[in-house]
């Protein structure tokens, strides 16, 4: 075996030294990109010049997508350039290296200095030197210029009173939607400014939906009481169907009620990713991901049908590989509750994938047949998102067991206790112990005792005046 080991070592050394021999041999033509060699002008042949955009805000129009928020004398503006824009700003495909620069501007009109808490904004953030280093070539004379440029463009941490900082914060790359929570810390103060940016570059499945024409305005039914809502949701069909509306496919095992922005923001905060529609490029990437097992965070989802149309929005949360992810599909219902949109959803956990001819990219996911497990995961995830104001359960699916399961159109079995979760989203953040409960039914064993206890607890909270009404303390604080 020692020969094997020696051979392996030799190979590794060779593999390492080969690019070294190739790189680092071209001549170098100066330390600074001079005026004439500005962006767009090709560098002289055989020369190594690092010529990024000197003035990103002027050269690249990403600031048209910027957003601004103000709180207690602190004003934060943020914007996220796309991968293509980054290539123009920095001269490299940073997305390919897992780096996503976020433009941040902070003005401090308060009396004390404040600090950005980088680790809270992104525990895996890149300091400018590291972000630059990922683009260094071996013994490349421009390395120094690259590092200098990244440092010049990066933001500072501390904002003095009356001062202003601006620059890039090098976050971890996220596909589709970039969520950034700008944490500002100062003496006895701590602010969160949450931004969500749709980053141009990939198409997303919900962008193909013609939202205004799904339903006519008079098709919507509005419910004002919880009891009406409960009945409407309980009587909703159990499962997705074929395109023509027949058959029973995957279970429709949850509902979400609320403003679309609040709903999507809650999912994004918990690390869910948006989904690309099925097309040649996404199909090819999914096919490759199947064979390499690599993560493909926005991989396309097959269409399943409710209301005779495919899902309006697909969301997924990948684990280490494409084979394992949680995914859900949402359809807008022609139902409103107190004026809010109501969606029906189907959530399941992919435990692995296998080859099949039933999808255009020749692979499909094996789902965890214990469907309630995925439902529980979703409940826990959303309860921690801070977006859920109230939740509970309704019935509506025929209960089934491992011995007598349902079968979906992919010929995969699933079983459930028959309950579906209802989430009501609010626009303010709600902490875990402020979440209210729909006093309907409860899933699981001992459900009778649990719902009795929950009703008692809700009654107690109502008596204490804690539910839905601001307490006296809150009022004084507002003053």
């Amino acid at each position: 075996m020692s020969t094997m080991r020696a051979a392996k070592m030799l190979l590794s050394i060779l593999a390492f030294s080969l690019p070294v021999m190739i790189a680092g041999c071209s001549p170098y033509c100066g330390t600074q990109p001079d005026e004439e060699a500005a962006f767009g002008a090709p560098p002289a042949k055989g020369c190594k010049v690092y010529s990024p955009s000197g003035d990103p805000q002027k050269d690249v129009p990403f600031m048209t997508r910027s957003e601004t928020q103000t709180e207690d004398g602190i004003t934060v503006t943020a914007a996220v350039p796309s991968d293509q824009e980054n290539e123009r700003i920095f001269g490299f495909n940073l997305g390919g290296k897992g780096v996503q620069p976020v433009w941040i501007e902070v003005r401090n009109d308060s009396a004390n200095p404040v600090t950005l808490v980088y680790v809270a904004m992104d525990p895996e953030y890149y300091p400018p030197n590291e972000a630059a280093y990922t683009n260094h070539g071996f013994a490349n004379p421009t390395n120094k210029d690259i590092t200098e440029y990244f440092n010049d463009q990066s933001t500072a941490r501390v904002i003095p009173p009356g001062g202003e900082i601006s620059g890039f914060f090098f976050a971890e790359w996220d596909p589709g939607i970039k969520y950034i929570d700008v944490n500002v810390f100062g003496e006895n103060r701590y602010h969160n400014f949450m931004f969500y940016f749709v980053v141009p570059g990939i198409k997303l499945d919900y962008q193909r939906v013609d939202w205004d024409n799904i339903y006519k305005e008079d098709e919507y039914v509005n419910y004002e009481t919880e009891e009406e809502l409960r009945q409407a949701l309980e009587s909703f069909p159990c499962c997705a169907t074929r395109k023509d509306g027949t058959g029973e496919n995957d279970a429709l095992n949850f509902f979400v009620v609320g403003d679309t922005d609040d709903i999507v923001a809650s999912f994004i905060r918990r690390g869910w990713d948006v989904t690309e529609p099925i097309n040649a490029s996404s199909g090819w990437r999914a096919f490759k991901a199947y064979f390499t097992g690599k993560r493909y965070r926005t991989s396309p989802m097959s269409s399943i049908f409710v209301f005779k149309r495919p899902q309006d929005i697909g969301l997924q949360k990948a684990r280490s590989s494409i084979h394992e992810r949680n995914h859900l599909r949402l359809w807008l219902m022609p139902v409103r509750y107190k004026g809010m949109d109501v969606w029906v959803g189907s959530v399941s956990r992919d435990v692995g994938s296998y080859m099949t001819f039933r999808t255009p990219w020749l692979s499909a996911h094996a789902i965890d047949p214990d469907l309630d497990e995925a439902r529980t995961y979703l409940e826990q995830d959303l309860l921690f998102s801070g977006g859920v104001k109230k939740f509970g359960y309704v019935k509506g699916i025929r209960p089934s067991t491992p011995d007598d399961p349902h079968w979906n159109f992919m010929k995969q079995p699933w079983w459930t206790d028959g309950y579906r979760t209802v989430f009501l989203f609010g626009d303010d953040l709600t902490s875990l112990n402020e979440v209210e409960i729909f006093e309907w039914e409860w899933a699981g064993e001992n459900s009778e005792e649990v719902i009795e206890y929950l009703k008692g607890a809700e009654a107690a909270r109502r008596n204490a005046g804690g539910l839905s009404q601001p307490s006296i303390e809150d009022n004084t604080e507002a003053d």
Partner: protein, 422 residues
Amino acid sequence: MLNTFRFAFICITLLMFSGCAATYDTQPLEKSTFLERAQTKSQAGLTVTAVVLSRDESEEIFGVDLAANGVQPVWIDIENNADVPYMFMPIALDPDYFSPNEVSWMNHFRFGGSANKKMDAVFDENAIELEFILPGHRRKGFVYTNLDPGVKFVNVTLYEVENTENFFFYFEVPGVTPDNEHVDFSSLYTDEEIVRVETEEELREALSTLPCCTTKEDGTGQGDPINIIFVGKPSDITSATIKRRWDIAEVERKKFSMDLNKVFSTARYRTFPMSSLYTYGRRQDFSLQKSRDKSGSTYRQRSTLRAWLTPIRYKGMTVWAGAVSRDIGSDLRVRKYWFVAQEIDPDIDETRDYIVEDMVLSGNVYELGFVKGIPPATEDDPHTNLSGLPWWSDGKRAVLFFTDEPVQLDEMVILPWEEAEY
């Protein structure tokens, strides 16, 4: 060569037949000894017991090598003697926890119909049920979490409508030999050598006597700066670092080629051995590292922290001197490790601030201050460490005070010592 061929032949043969002869055997839970390492905590009428399985234990209990797929079962036993039902929330323990069927699917045999069914049942029956636990009831079983090598932080969150209870556990997982196993902390200093201080000013005075930088083994030279100081009980400091997912370093092995394999492999190797730096004439007393959490990243991108116990005791708490730096990639140079050398972020204050933020976010830091002690240097006129890498600094060290009580970020006290970023 003959051996190699024979080995390959046996492998292929085994592969061909493995499917047909798939048998799946597990050891009954009662026979395993993992419960001997259990930790139990009680509060608010709830009693929680937890154990993190080692690689060998999980293979014994589940009959398959779970660690190979990055799965680490955690045993949880919850007894509810409160007067309301509580629900266990594994998502607070691991936001990417695995479902029983998922773990089973990863380990399925290629053609093992009945064995696979049995496996599904074993993982399912041993999993803890995630439902409300009524008063007077008890639920126990495994949660299948993502693998943490060496040390693991386990947070058991129990929810009821009005209240949430958190139980924090810190586990050393058998199977990884930490590089400071040989350090005998009680014999590092004699009683006369210990400097006992009681007031903040005395402490500040004492800290100014700390060496500026690490040295060579013989005490000469000037290496990386000592730029962070931890004050607190050792258990509070380690809890905070484990909570923020810092990993220990394994003892450096002499089998060089094996390590070289690991260097060139793309797998994330979280407990990669760390090289020795010297202060007080000895190697670091403990080594911690945090590698980038992304597939394909390796030890090449990690932050490292080496710390030495100082002779200073502040109000009975230990004081540790630490050197932190961030490895941003590897470069090929002829150095100690042949041609592979770490490139560090030369802006060493950036790394210091990163660790200050990270520790503060653990919620266990109640005071923070800055002291002088490193000769300042600038980008144009940097210091170099013993590997010849440049670094520069404003010359300040962060001093962090740890407690086991949870501290909100805006409750943290900032000492009026040196002017600094916080």
